[in-house]
Structures are given as structure tokens and as C-alpha cells.
Symmetry: C2
Subunit: 732 residues, 2 copies
Amino acid sequence: MPLQDHQRDSNGEAEIYELGENGSIIDTQSCTPEYTKRYVDGSTIDWFYEDFKEQEREESQRSLRGARGILVPFFDSMRMWLVVVGTGIGIGLIGAWLDVLVKWLSDLRVGRCTVGFFYNSVSCCSGLKPGECMEWQSWSEYLEVKHIFAESFLQISIYVSLAIALAGSSAILVKIYAPYAFHTGIPEIKAILRGYVLDAFLTPWTLLIKAIGLALSVSSGLSLGKEGPLIHVACCLTFLLTSFFKQFERSEGQKRKLLAASAAAGVSVAFGSPLGGVIFILEELDSFANDSDVMWRGFVASAIAAVVLQYMDPFGTSKLVLFQVTNNSDTWRAFELVPWLALGVIGGVLGSLLIKLNVQVALYRRNTFLNDWPVLEVVGASAITAAISYLVVFTRVQSSELVANLFQECKPLKVDYHGLCNPTANAENIFLLVITALLKIAFTAWTFGIMVPAGIFLPTITIGACLGRAVGILTQTTQTAYAGTWIFQSCPPEPTVRCVSPGFYAVIGASAMLAGVTRMTVSLVVIMFELTGALSHVLPIMISVMTAKWVGDALGKDGIYTVWIAMRGYPWLAPVDYHDQGESAAGIMKPVDELVLIEDGQCTVGELDDMIKTHQYQGFPIVEQRRLVGYITRDTLKCHIGRHLSSESRLGRCSFSNRNHNGDAIDFSDGLEKSILHLRKETPQELIVRIFQRTNFREILFTDRGYLVGLVTKKDIVALLTMHFPHTGSLS
Amino acid sequence: MPLQDHQRDSNGEAEIYELGENGSIIDTQSCTPEYTKRYVDGSTIDWFYEDFKEQEREESQRSLRGARGILVPFFDSMRMWLVVVGTGIGIGLIGAWLDVLVKWLSDLRVGRCTVGFFYNSVSCCSGLKPGECMEWQSWSEYLEVKHIFAESFLQISIYVSLAIALAGSSAILVKIYAPYAFHTGIPEIKAILRGYVLDAFLTPWTLLIKAIGLALSVSSGLSLGKEGPLIHVACCLTFLLTSFFKQFERSEGQKRKLLAASAAAGVSVAFGSPLGGVIFILEELDSFANDSDVMWRGFVASAIAAVVLQYMDPFGTSKLVLFQVTNNSDTWRAFELVPWLALGVIGGVLGSLLIKLNVQVALYRRNTFLNDWPVLEVVGASAITAAISYLVVFTRVQSSELVANLFQECKPLKVDYHGLCNPTANAENIFLLVITALLKIAFTAWTFGIMVPAGIFLPTITIGACLGRAVGILTQTTQTAYAGTWIFQSCPPEPTVRCVSPGFYAVIGASAMLAGVTRMTVSLVVIMFELTGALSHVLPIMISVMTAKWVGDALGKDGIYTVWIAMRGYPWLAPVDYHDQGESAAGIMKPVDELVLIEDGQCTVGELDDMIKTHQYQGFPIVEQRRLVGYITRDTLKCHIGRHLSSESRLGRCSFSNRNHNGDAIDFSDGLEKSILHLRKETPQELIVRIFQRTNFREILFTDRGYLVGLVTKKDIVALLTMHFPHTGSLS
């Protein structure tokens, strides 16, 4: 029978029984643990319960006869694939649409197309050689302002005011319509996939506002990217699609398995990297790594998303590789390991610096006036970013365009991108690139956390690409200057043949910076070379990623997403290897004296009711003279109490074991949890942590020859693992 | 104090106490579980014990003062990296050397170079255009045999007899010097990495014989490859290097972590795929997926191995990509999904067929006369393979050469490979390719399991490439014949422009076949496109792999390596999701009535001694009137018994709890296992399986309010998971 939904009792908790006409309580069904789970935002799902529900569902389907026995499971599975395919197609379309919109809006800050208002700079000039295009005019040209100062002033004004307008609208939309649509979304997705419940994060409004807000904020020139938010959008899409089918209504476990697949699709669209999407699930969302169904759906979703994106062809290039590096068959030389290792170290150091700065800014934001004026902060940030960016050429242009050009080698026939290939301007270019990188570090540290959808991948790639190119130009200059020395002997003797390829150094720098910030490894390497097509150079990318992560880990244990999860206080257990110092569980468990226990056969229903109202614990151990009988969760206990709360049975004694304590005892024994883990208190802490990481237990009881000695919950372990981080929970 | 090693008692088990001068037993040290582990081949390591030893080691290092406190851990870690780097360099060198040797020996079966005996056909003719080379002569030319029949007869004779000689020597070497050097090695490596002990598998002799035998067997023309065996060789190398350092002497856990890294290096060299090596660890050897140290070392080892291989440049191409596909920027068309899905289905069906055939052949071999004449079987197999191969052109040439050419598109200026690009010979080519594939399926099913080092990747790739190319040619012919119809409308109208690329179909076929045989997914896709450089076509590869795995799983649950692990009876727990039918642990546990228990306070030392000699169990629960006190393993119990086995204390009562049963009780309480898991018997079976899969527990006890009700060991779960396979243990 369906239970009534969402009635709240005085504690704000959902009630779980039906009320009769006169307000009396009707006993609707049994109160076993399986039937009494209610999730509210902020709680964690019970995976055992979810598995049990799945099993029940499959069993009931197996018992069907005839055609129904075949068709019903078939349709079930069809609906699931419908959600997966729908997500893939949807996110591919959204990704393509987003690219087009962002390109147009960003170009609009600089000028417009005389042929039609809705053409961006590329489509306006399609078919014409660069430099010959008269149709694309800057605003000062269009408004026919001739005076040189007025021209510049007009350009800057429009550039900055449009930036403010775009960013401001994004912030207003987020603040009013979908407060969860801000920031990246990856920390929340990771927590949700591990079992955290946050349905408000995945509403259809959030989907809409995040997509629109993302387009606005990216085109406003703020130092952010669209990658993380696209993953959030993909997950919202899946959530929306599952809401159409009754089958998923209460299947929190199933929903999360589908969400993992859509995360892969989001990565696939963000980077044009279908394989990277799947490996992202393997590496980052490891709770599903063993689940081949999830890997399948991830494969399918990311493949479909990539196909749709390629078909929509937002840039007319028909390529999936966003930043195609020039296909050079240059082999690399041994001496290049030196600058590459240097880039790895720089990536690790600056990545850690960026994380620390970002944390400090987030704390400052929370603890000062900025907390009350988020839209104002966004306006201010966009104004300052736009104004300062206008001054340096490499910050003025769109980040994706900059990166695409930094990754390209200089060729004789190729158009020189803002003087990057001018051999006499090497020193100036190095200086400009370094300034760009430093500015972007400062901008990104501030921007990643303001009230707009914002991802951190593209800014990090930009910082790394600038630094990498700078190092590349430096190495190239050094090599041509000292061409004869023994270090550079592996280079061909002719000075006209290029030996060092600065474009590839930009790729290395980007990989190193990303590794330093996100601390991803394998999925990062796959994404990088799906992004660039630089397959023959996978080794240097691997080396720089390794070095950057190693240096970064030495400076600070956590990557940016782990840090934000900790600051928000989500109950997420990092899948890291924990090494204890020889301590046993006795050091972290709550000893039995501090626990609230239920005495089997002694307690009354009334006492239990008071106990529940007094203590907010999620569950209670049941003992009989200190011998452990079992464990009961809060919801199950409330259900049982609710059933017997009439005045007569308030004094009835509860019995949790099958033995009759006395004839009148009320039987609560079907409420005991089936899967309770007992260990000895000498068990090493490492093992306790590992059990919580790899299984879905939420608490462990410690016994000594049958006597309860202590208890530890998953929250205690989360606290243990985040102990080293001083700001845990400061933004919750 | 060091314990004496490897004395065997009457049961064949290692004794663990020292003997004094007059033969009396000296109590050398405590008998806690941590000090009494002895591993013999066939046992499984205790991961908790290994972790404990690591911890002790780190603690003793932390307590050092001054310079020692810094240098000692530093040198420890240096030694570990030395092993990793040494393995990378070593396997890179071995891989390069192997390539050169195989090329030369294979060519020798066809002809020789007049310039010098040790030149292979490529280096003999270096610098000359193909077709102009007079220096490379077939044997009949060299021996100046003119008569046409004698010429052919001589060629075939030399071809077959050299094949027999090479394969036969390989088999003789393996049989006499290193019996564990036969077959692929991957099943054993997977079991060893999960904790199985099989030191005889990784001896220096095995390393030498496997490498030499591999070169001999590959060049003998048998249908096998070098990939799996190279992984075995890499692991042997690591084992050898660890034997030089005292630090690893008893560190079975540490050794396995290093072995995982060397497995990555082996994959890297086998396929020129450094990234594939690391993802191989992630996917196949999942016990270490959470261990970032292992991933690091895997990264480093495979990167170094790939660098060394590229530096050695065995083929003068300076490429890492072994089967470079022609870099075509052709996009693919929608109608091509039909033949690609067909190839996926074919790969799944034929892959399952190959596995089933291989199992039947292996059983036949074990149960008939072939079991006693392995060398004869090898000779026969190589003779038949060589003789039949000579008749079909595509089987006569070396597999790697065939695959490389099948992956290449036909170009006007390119040399036609045995008529493959002849447009009038399409039907003949399709026929020949299909015959080749079927022959190779038969050969491979027989060869994979004979007494020589043999891998299955390259034959599988060859089978798939042949079928793929056949389907590609068929599609191309169909498209050119019906060029105007609506299906093919996406093709350019000019008949001279190629629309369908059969070379890429060969890549798809190879991927599908590999997926059908090995059931690998993500690592396979990465390996395939690192192997071919076909990055822009990663989507079709993903689609065909998915389809093949799906079809293959529908026909038979296990891949080839899982099947061999089951047949050999290794205690390896497949990391698959197990779905029970609602059964609880009560269905698989051994009930308490059937267990051999120790009664706390009642047993005597003499009784324990008899019990150990009678029952071969790995451990015994200790109860006190059916209440569970704890659990003690066999080794620890033997240690305690050994300490008190003099005639006076034979009658002494043993006490496992700290309470004094009576004044004379001998205290055995420090022998209890610290980490014992208790669950209720209503726990679902799925959960039990998952706990064993994801943690390192070797047994779980079931209690009900403190009373022992049953026990289940990891072996029981292994049996449960392999229940569907009828031939488990048939080759052990």
C-alpha cells in the first residue's frame, strides 16, 4: 500500500503512517527496515535498502507468467535505456547550442556582423579569407566613431558593460530562480553519487537556469569554463527524464547509477572526449567501478553525446578534437625532459597555490559583507575582470580561442596570432604570457565560487597553456642561441628546421596545471589527448601529470573538488589510502558508556518515544544486560512506536528478540537491521576506514565476546579523514 | 629474532620454532598472529598481516633519530623505485630484443640474406626500393635449386622443419628447465596479485626460459602472440630485482604492489601502449585501483618501458604505434553502423566460440594421451600449423605483418600486399580472408595451452582483422555497386573518391574479436587506439567493443582468462556484481554443527595437537558454551602448541580469554585474530560476496546474540561464483 507522503511531524521529519478519519493511526503495513526508509535532503541513502528493493522488484517480475514475464522486464530495461539515450542526445544538443550561443555573445562584446545581428565573427566571414572580411565590424566602426580616443573608450565601455550585463543577469537568474545552479556542481555530484540526498540540486529549474546562466557567464569574460557545469546539466537532465517513469520514483540507487552514466556524457561533451568520460567514472566515481552495467551506460551515453555533438557541428569544423594540435611527427629529444619536468613542478606549485587562494577567498566571502551581496560581487568581479583583461591582449580574447592558438605551432603560411610567432618579439611574448597566467590565477581564485555557474577546467588549461608556451619559447630561444653545444646535439643542424615545438609545451603546461589543481591522473591524460589529438606525445603528458600531482600532493593533500566537498561538509568519504599509526578502532569508536542503548525487554513504548524525541541519532543498539542483541534505525523505530502509540500500549514492554520476556511484550523483532557488522575493538583503524570506503555499511559495532563495547559511524570516519583540513564544514 | 626457515614437519608444513642443541624446542618469540605467518606455494597471503608488517616497519623507522630518521626511509623508497625503474628499462630492452630476434628467425624460415646471415629481410634490403633487392634470397634461390617442383618442395620443407625445430626447442626448454614458463601467464598473475602464493612461477629460470621460449615459439609460426607472456616476463624481472634487497624478503604485500606496476610495463611494451598499461591495472587488477602508489609506479614503469622501446627502435621506424593506420580524416557515415554492429556481433559470437573450443581442447589434452607427450604435441601442432599455413597466403606470412597491412588503406602508389588491393579480386580476397580467420580460430584454440609460451592477443587481433577487412571489402563493393541508392547518399558522388575504408573495418573487427575473447572494455579501447593511432575513430571502436562484449556475455559469462583461472582452480574472486535470489548467508555458510570448535577452558594442549593433525582447516573458532570468543588461525595455533608440547604441559588446559578458568590454564589469548568479522545469518548473500570482493577478509563468522551459528570462507565464495562453470578445477 502506498504510504502517505511528506507529512511532517513536530520534529520536521516525515511521518510514515496513515491517519484515519478521526485522526487515529491506521496500521498500514509492517515496520521492517525495508519499508521505513524516507530520504530528505541532507540524509544519506541506505544502499542495502536500495539493493533489497531492486531484488524485490526483480523477484516480483520473475514470478509473472507468460508474456508479462517477458514484457515487463523488457520494458523496465527499455525505460532505463531511454533515459540513458535521452541524456546522451540531450546533453549533446545542449552542448552544441551552448557553444553557438557563447561564441555569438562573446563576439558581441567586441563587434557585430553587418549582414545580420545573429552571426558570430566566424560565420559572418565564412568563405572569405581572414583580413578580407568587411562584414564584421567592431562597435566603433559600426557606430562610425572616428576619433581615436573615443574609439578606444567606446570599445572598452561596451566590452565592460556587456560583461557586467551578462554576468549580472546570470547571477540574478541564479539567485532568484535556482540557488543551486551556481558554482561547478562536481563536488555535489560526487557526494550524491556516493549516497548523499540533495534533490534540490537536480530540479528542472536548476537545469534551465544552469544552462542559460552558464552561457551568460562564460560569454561575460569571467575566468571560468563550462566543463563542470555541463556535468551538472547532464545529471539534471537524467533526473528530469527519470521523473517521467514511475519505475524510478523511489529508486534512489537506480537513479544514482544512471547519474553516473550521465556524468560520463557530460565529460564527453565538455571535452569532446567520450573515452575520457568513461574513465572519469572509473577514476573519480569509484563506487561504481565494479558495476559493469554502469560502465555500459556510461559508454553508451558518452558515445551518443559525442556523436550528437559532432553531428551538430557547432563550429563547422566537423571535428571532435577541440584543440587540434598540429600533427607533427616530431620526435622529442632528451634535453626537453628538463623544461617538461620544470613545467610539472610549476603546475604542482601553482595548482596548490590556486587551491589555497580559492579557499581563502571562499572563507572571506562567507565571513564578510560579500555574503549578503552576491550579485554585487558578481558585477564587481566581472567589471574588474573585463577592465583589466582588456589591457593585456592575451586576456582580452576568449580563453578557448587563446588556448587553441597556443597549442598550434608557428608555421610560415599560418596567420600570426597576435604576434605570438614573431621571432623578434620573444621576450615580450614570454612576459605577456606570464602576466596573463598570473592574472588568470588571481581571477580564477576569486571567480570560482561566486554566484554564477562556473567551471575551473578551462581557466586552468589557459593558465597552464600560457606558462607552457612561455617555457617553450624560452627553450626554443635557448636552443637556437646555443645550437652547437652538446646538450642540443640531438637537434638537426640546420637553423631553419624547428627543433623545439612551443605549441606542444603549451599542451604539457596545461596538463601539468590541471593535474596540480584537480589531482586527477589517468582520466586527465586521456582527456588531454582526446582534447588535442596528441597521441604520439602521450609519454611527456604522463610525465608532467605525474610530476605535477606529486609536487601538488606534497604541498597540500587535496585537489580542488575534495577541498570544496570538505568545506561544504558533505558526508563524502575520500577513496584514499589511509594509514593509521598503529591505532586500533578503540581510538575512534564511541565507547558503550556514551551510547544511548535500548534494553531488550525492559523498555516501554513510551520510553522509546521520549528517547527518539530527545536524541537525534540515526540508530540505536539493543542490548540485553550489555550483550548485543541487534541494532535498529530511527525510521524503523518510529514506525513501530507509531503503531503502538495509543494510550493503552504506551506502557507495553518492547521485545526485540523472539523469546518471550513476558506474555504482554510487544514484538519489535522484525525491526532489527539484518546487516550489522561486528568487529573486535583491536581491529586496526586502517581496516575500519577501508570497510567504510569499500562497502555500504553506515555503522560498525564493536563487541567483545558478545558484549557491546563501542560503535563508530561513517560520519566519524569522514571526520577522521578530513581532520587534516582546517576548514571542514565552514561553508555548510 | 629470525625464525628458522623452511623446515618441514611431518605434514609438509613449515615449522616455526627453533630447535636447541639436544633437539628440544626453544621458545624464540611470541606466538601472536603477526609473527606466525608462513606462506607456501598454493596458500593465500594474509593482507592484514602484510599491512601490519608494513606499519611496524614504518613505526620503527619513525622512531629513529637524526640523520638515520631521514636516510633510512629515503633509502627504502629509493630501493622500491630502483625496482620499478629497473623493471621498466629491463622489459623495454627485452621487448626490443625479442622483436629483433623474432623477425630474424621468422624470416629465416623463408630465406636468408646473402650479405650476412644475421640480417633480416628488412635490414638486408635497407636503402633499396622493394622489388629491387637482390640480396635477400629465398632458400631455393640460395641453394640454387632450379627445378620448379624441387623448388616448392624445398621451400615447404625448410619452412615446416624450421617451424618444428623452433617450436620443439621451445617446448623442450620449457619442459626441462621451467615448467611454469608455458602458456600466457596472465591467469596466474591475476591470482598472484589477489594474494595467491606461487613463487615457482616467478623464478629467474622462468624469466630466462620464457623470454627465449617466447622468441622461439612466436617465430615458429604457431598461432600465438607475445603479449601475455611479456607481462609474465616483466613480473619475473620485478621478482628478481626484489630478491636483491633484504627489505622485500618477506614483504609479500609489497612485492605484489610492485608486480602490479610491472604488469603495466609489460602491457606497455607488448602493445606500445603506456597509457593502456596503466588502465589495464585499473580495470583488470582492481584490488589496487585505490592505491595511488601502485598507480604511480605503474605510470612510471610503463612510461620508462615505452621510452626504452622507442629508443631501441627495433624496426627502424622510431614509432611507438605498432600498426599505424593511415591518417585519414575521413568522417564516417551513418550507414557504416550496420556493418560495424555486425562485426561486433561476429566478434562476440566467434569469441565465445573460441573460448569454448579452447576449453574443450584443454580438457581433452588433460584427459587423454596428450597429457603425457607435451613435446610431441607441440611438434605435431607446429608441423600441422606450418604445413596448412603454407597453402593460404595470408596465413603463411607473419601475423604482425599481416595485421599491419590489413589496417592500411589501399593507396594508388602503395605496394599491393598480396593482391589485397586488386579491385577485380574482391571475391577471392573475401574468401581468402574468411578462410584465414577460420583456420586461425582452429589453430588458436589448439595452440593456447600447449607446452610453450603463448599469448592470445595477436592471433585474436589477426582473426578480427581478417574478418573486418572482409566485411569492409564487401561493404565497399556494395556501396560502389549501388552508389546511387538512398542508403549511400552520404557518400561523395565521384566513384574515384573512396567512401568506405576497409582498413578501418579491420581495426573494428580486431577490437570486436578481442572484446569477445577477453571481455576487456576500457583498457581494450585505449590499447587499440594506442596501437593504431586511430584517435578520431574512437567512437566506432567503442561501439564495436560494447556490442561484442554484450553478445559474448550473453553466450558465456566469462572471458578467456577467467575461464583458465577457474580451470586451474586458483582462489581468485572475480570482481563481478553478484545478484542473489533473495537468499541469505544461511544458505552458503557452514552451520555450527559442522564446524570444528575449540572450547575455551576445556581443551588441552594435547587435544589441540591431535585436532590440528586431524583437520586441515585454516582456522578454528573458539567458543565458550556456544558463545563466540574468537578465532585462531592454524599457524598461530601450531606456534602455541609447539611452545607447550613437552610432556608436562600436554594436559594443561588452554585459556583464550583473559579470565582465569583456573590457576593452571595456559594463556593462548594473544593468539586470537584481531580482525574478525561477525554478521547476522540473515545478511543477504550479495553483501557477503561484496565484502569478500572488496576487503581482505578470509572468513566471516555468523552470530546470533553472541552465539556462533556458522562460518563462511573466501573459498566458499569462490566456489559460489564459479558454480556456473562446469569445469572448475579440472586442470589443477
